[in-house]
Symmetry: D3
Subunit: 253 residues, 6 copies
């Protein structure tokens, strides 16, 4: 099986990939509370694993490399639970600029930042412009689950929710499938919360709110529904949809 | 009629409003190309006017002030057309932080940033967290048209589109209603473009793209459908929905 | 009458102006207390109006555009009165750099920053060097009233003062002439203060001092002398002197 | 076996550790060329593994947690080889400040940054002062191999070198011991370079120099001497010496 | 004779001065071309010497200390001549903020920045507000020659000029009086230039201009008039006027 | 005797030196407590004098210039004693970047930063990379005493110590030799402290510590051993070793 993970490859192998104009996926995530039942690294583990699986599918058709996962992100809303790491917007911007800049200097031209953490989405959307201008390069951004959600591809898999909530049926299932020792089975019975903690105006008028004020367990959704089988299916469809797009040349073609 | 516009009020009047815990709306917008038919100040004029109309409705029930409109925003995607002003993300962040900080120092506690420009949305969403942390205050953000779009309130008014596009039926109608001398009637016949210029994957995978590559006219939507009557109705419903929320105490209550 | 105001012009009209090497005036001002009788927007209104009038005179001879007025400036010394917005020096610098940078990117080469607020003068003088170096462009700066004061052109108009004080005979007169609904006539009887609040060493040794400690009314000068007729004359001579310089090619020729 | 890795622990487990005043080790490393035979993640893998092993020894006596490894560092001198990620000094400073700040906010008081990359040493030494002042906390820094080198503890293990070079006998041995699939055995015969590439004045007068100009293979030292057995011994002594210090209360007692 | 120069005093002597609420003068200057006849350190030497002489007079009445001279300032306009050091506005601001911050931390409360370089004046005026706000301390600023110029005290001493030009009768005289080995007597015959190089609009409309385009010799004024006797008198009156103000309690009383 | 000190030279002399590709030494030091017996300017005086002496030796063979001494550095660890000036790491970085940038713009290509203060060493080592990248120039850094210490050249001169401590036998001797009026002879009997205040783990695990907690006198070493004769010898060997390297072409050849 081809090695696709940047830091498991030698410099010569990476130079070779760059010379072949390989795509670089840069997984970005977070380290933060994920309820009573899941480790704080959930977003980091899932983003890295989702990218790795997609890349292995892509690698059959074209060169691709997965950079190490940026495990620190924007998670102020989880700080009140403890166990959470968060950056300011400006440091996060500087970090991504210099990581992408390094990847470009290493000879690659096609970078897709693949996000696995809800709290990063708005910032990444905003930075998509600034990174492109600052680096004069077609940096693209996505969230790992955007393609399947857009395609309603999780509908047949999940019972209670349509997309990804937090420490939920979907995240717990994927953790069970791939990182079982980071799931505390004995805490599952209490691992649920509201299905949508923000209320009807949330999207229309935004105001910062601690997750703690939305869900005392730190969970949005219901992890009691989680199974490893669901997790495997979620990974499969997520990786496949991203891989198909990349093989087809998106977003650069 | 009560004066609600900050810079048309004296310091004593503003001290009085602050003492009464008045809400402050801070309209933020942009100065950028708006097709062949509309002035570059569209977002600035509409954001200010929308806030002013909403505030006049609110003022019957509770104190409210409308700060001057921040006419510079994030508009890199329009630069290729000329006539466009844009800021970097970090300067925009610093500017809003210091404006909100000044409003707080003037004695107000409830600030709602009301955005009138699509290109600002993601940045404002991201900054909602940072501004709240940096200023230790419940800064809220919204986009002027979010409440009516969420309520499908434009459906009976607009012919070709459901929400706000760019230099489109909706924006041109509101400009006709309130700023008619900033509409070039003779250019209307050419004032149309695609209804959605980004394509099916736009929301799933983002990559910076100049508006010029999406629409040669600079228009998304069809301004040929615009009328002043539609514009008046759009203003009415937009102002009313925002006013109702604010009167009801949202988003702070 | 030619349209000269940037955000009332379309992108195509601005591209055309840039192609004709039009001058751009960028009015910069402030939002701050102006005594019991004047709205906080005085400097913003007067700077914009002064530039607009000068530009209309220039426009008969050469192309010129007036950008929207930068209504936020350096006004820490007025904060104690309430109603005041102020920026840090570094954010103000970044803001002006990016505004001028955008104007240059829009194809213009001749930018004159026209200031209408005393508190901005030193910073603008200092930034004249940095902006020129950073943008590699001949950015010029002036204060709206510098030319008439240098020419003693206000002498025959004003009764009590030779130049511009604060919320004074001159500012109140111009507000009466052009923005009468932002003057509180009933407060005029108390709208006076010392003619020079800083004392004999003020220019030799500087130390930050709140306006509140210099003048309890927030006025320097005597607005009881103000009339709309004086205001109209002040505008006329101010606009004419600036226009004459610009028509003659200053400061770039 | 106790779990000591931050992102494999739940928020509740981390809150519990913080309440018990657990030490936090923050491994910092790099992603950079490591000769023809080793993956670019060497420093990241070894720093994380060294900390994990030390922490497991400590955990028998007192609470300790190992944060995720900061895999991006200061590696400009390796960029010419490709495959290398590097940050500016100011972004690296901001990143570490906010990571440590988050750890403090999570309730921990004792942070030891454990470095696994030569290029970070000077910056970490300098930042030890600034981090302590900025965060008002006793942040300590060390390099993973400092204690054994100070104690000459590698002398009986290594054949050709006394300390840690680059992609050398020591690093290759530890990679063989713990991350064998990141070692390219077929490249070992060419995996050697000078024992000291900087020359006699290197420590007295510093000037930036690309590693490429010091060693064409990217290796300093001789990886042909590497064995998994040596690697295991190096890990053992490194982890033990650090654990002993921490158990004894250093550096806070 | 009392020692008044900070870096010639021991820490204990400075603690003692701080305990006695001594004034601290912080001379700020520049290193830049000063015509064919004067060393590039003119402003640095004169600012330090002027402060030292004033301080010796003050010291008879109250405690005072003179910090080392900040020899780097804002001198972009002299760069074209060579031999010139210049800072950006933002670095200069940060430098002065941290120097004043250190002086405050050393226990002093009264800081007067005494400037000896024309190019720093506007920036110092602007920073007077920001330094006071940032440090919450009554930082005062002046230019060494402001008091004598305000008092027309140089009139009987200088032949050709009323104030201080550049590398001129006044500066050359003071250099002859106190730093004779930094004057090249053989270059004096060519050491003259225009008396005022900026022209009639200079104060009304500012635009960056290299000194090289104003005066090919780098001199404004006429150094051929310089004598050591004049220099001694200039120093005497300058030091005396500043000392009198400080003894009288200005600017803090 | 050739003049080698930048600010004692005219711009023309500096242009001439730059045209001859002269080396520029930039002495960097500190202003900080130096025990009961030495002035706070010790590091500044010694760095400047050491560079000047070395430059005079070099000047017989090749052109060289000594910039003014950067008297502000990183001295947080001395602040508790009073009399101390310190900068943040980021301001220090910006300052050195702009000073070196100015020297390059003045036409010089070979800059050696010569440090005279222990607290700057790590930062300068780290910045050696960033300055070279930012300025695209071969900026070199050294500490004044590095060459003699590397060569054990102080061994026959000093009685109690091998290198440079703080306010010690070596520093006090050099001050006696060249700046006798900055030595308080009557305080010498109490001018001693521990020979090594950091303890056995200091180099292995770093944690910020005030000098005050290491030595109540502020001295590391024993200044009672100091004599002017030793000081003269220390200067001689220090200057000679640096001069020899520079004459031989290091570090650029």
């Amino acid at each position: 099986m081809t090695e696709v993970v940047w830091n498991r490859m030698t410099a010569a192998e990476l130079r070779d990939a760059a010379a072949a104009d390989a795509i670089v996926l840069l997984p970005v995530a977070s380290t933060e509370q994920h309820g009573p039942h899941l480790a704080t690294g959930v977003d980091t583990f899932l983003a890295g694993e989702g990218c790795r699986r997609a890349a292995l599918l892509v690698a059959e058709k074209r060169r691709i490399v997965v950079a190490p996962t940026v495990w620190m992100g924007l998670a102020e809303h989880h700080v009140a639970f403890g166990g959470t790491i968060t950056l300011s917007l400006s440091t996060y911007h500087a970090l991504l600029r210099e990581l992408c800049g390094s990847i470009l200097r290493a000879g690659f031209t096609k970078i897709l930042i693949v996000n696995g953490h809800g709290g990063n989405i708005a910032a990444l959307t905003a930075m998509t412009t600034d990174l492109a201008m600052e680096l004069k390069a077609p940096i693209a951004t996505t969230t790992l689950y955007s393609l399947p959600i857009q395609a309603n591809a999780f509908d047949g898999i999940l019972q209670d929710q349509k997309g990804i909530q937090h420490a939920c049926e979907a995240e717990a299932s994927m953790m069970m499938a791939a990182f079982g020792d980071c799931v505390r089975a004995d805490k599952l019975p209490e691992a649920y919360g509201p299905q949508d903690a923000r209320g009807p105006n949330a999207n229309a008028i935004l105001m910062w709110k601690s997750f703690k004020d939305m869900t005392p367990t730190g969970v949005i959704g219901d992890a009691r529904r989680a199974t490893a089988e669901k997790g495997e299916k979620l990974f499969e469809v997520t990786a496949r949809l991203l891989a198909e797009k990349l093989i087809a040349g998106a977003p650069w073609a």
